[in-house]
Amino acid sequence: MKTMTPTRRRPKARPPVAVLVLATLGGALFAVPLVAMLIRTPWRSAWSIVTEPELRTALRLSLVCSLSATAISFVLGVPLAWVQARLDFPGRALLRAITTLPVVLPPVVGGLALLLAVGRNGILGRYLFDWFGVRLPFSTAGAIVAETFVSMPFLVLSVEGALLGADGRFEEAAATLGASRWTIFTRVTLPALRPALIAACVLCWARALGEFGATITFAGNFPGTTQTVPLSVYQAFETNPPAAIVLSLLLVAVSLVILVTLRHRLVVRT
């Protein structure tokens, strides 16, 4: 244990030994698998694995789907967060619960629910197909919908937290200057939230990038169409374990960079 520095007037809080032991075990639960992954990574063949055409396709698809899901989440999620934060209406608590549900729901359940809603025979999906010829399941669009479903709640939660933390001072000032409600929203509220909005988008994107359960359930696992990187990890695990490890490490690296960058912004205020 560290010795106390004599200049400090108050002694440092000495942690109870049992807490330290348990905390170490807890930390190890996360650290050991990561270390194992690093040890078992076939570093020599890593580059050739990442540049294989199949995996390049999966990578590109992952980028397209996760970025699209983030864009949709931004356009729909920011207004949703605003409604939840700034309007008082009956059923707000229920709406909040519903829009937060995918955070805790097993994604496979989300995928199933999406199939029932906008699948080929879903309550809306059948009309999408009959009227517009749109078929979401087993298409790239379906993968985007699945990723949006799972990742948008993270954006809504953090934007709503930021909105609740900001008082309406600047909105008031804008109103006295004659700004319409839409102008206030787009020109005052959103610019003031810029850092929080960026953080929310990055968090949302990270979740979309790692999405697996809802995508494979709703959109299937088709190389080039719906097989994103997490899905190809799943497949490679059966056929080509070293490739699975390299791809996993790639996802870990991206997620870790995001979390370290956002470390000050991940606490959601309520």
């Binding site: 001072r169 008031e172 804008a174 109103a175 006295t176 004659g178 700004a179 319409s180 610019p191 003031a192």
Partner: protein, 239 residues
């Protein structure tokens, strides 16, 4: 900016708001060109009266009339939004938009009043020049001094051509050394304004220096009103 004849603006505000801690019942009237000062301790209801006139705090009873228009009368179910009241507000903390420059802050107001981008920028520049801020046109609010920020806020409020101008503790954020100088400047700028000005301060000397008429408020009531120059006498008598 100065086109057309000046609106004959009259303010008649009977503000009644029942807060749990204080019941506010204040009636004040003012004519064009008049500068009304509201003075009183914290919690006396000064700022609430301003917010009611601006439309940021709906009144529970009473009536507020600006010019010929009733803007808030609960009994008649009339409530005009802040956007449509033509009231300019300089908030105590100025509330300049941090993501915009000084020029863009003023232009924001003009854009809201229907000017196109080019006209808004040109007019904003004129406003800033008038307030001796031309050198700071492209600065963000955080880089402005207290006095400069106050003038940007004033220019922004006046740019909308309001019938009533509301100033909430305009000198509160100014450091004591520059206070006198900035107060003199403020008096000069307010001189040019043809509408009604309502000014809130808890310093008697600010009201005496800037206002023509004074209302002393305490616990939500008007305890004295009269020429601002008599305020010193009055406050001496009250002690």
């Amino acid at each position: 900016m100065t086109e057309g004849p000046t609106r004959q603006s009259v303010l008649d505000a009977h503000v009644v708001i029942a807060y749990p801690r204080v019941h506010i019942d204040v009636h004040l009237t003012a004519r064009s060109g008049e500068i009304v000062g509201l003075v009183g301790p914290n919690g006396s209801g000064k700022t609430t009266v301003l917010r009611a006139i601006a439309g940021l705090a709906p009144i529970d009873a009473g009536r507020i009339t600006i010019g010929q228009t009733v803007v808030d009368e609960p009994n008649a179910a009339v409530l005009v939004s802040p956007q449509d009241r033509h009231v300019g507000v300089v908030f105590q903390d100025y509330r300049l938009f941090g993501h915009l420059t000084a020029l863009e802050n003023v232009a924001f107001a003009l854009r809201c009043r229907g000017r196109n981008r080019v006209t808004a920028r040109a007019e904003s520049m004129q406003w800033l020049e008038r307030f001796d801020l031309a050198d700071h046109a492209h600065h963000r609010p955080t880089t402005l001094s207290g006095g400069q920020a106050q003038r940007v806020a004033l220019a922004r409020a006046l740019a909308t051509d309001p019938a009533v101008l509301l100033l909430d503790e305009p000198l509160a954020a100014i450091d004591p050394q520059s206070r006198g100088e900035i107060r003199d400047d403020l008096a000069r700028y307010l001189d040019d304004f043809a509408g009604v000005t309502v000014l809130v301060s808890h310093h008697h000397d600010d009201i005496v220096a800037l206002a023509s008429t004074a209302f002393a408020l305490d616990a939500g009531r008007v305890t004295w009103s009269g020429p601002a120059s008599n305020l010193v006498l009055q406050s001496a008598r009250m002690k």
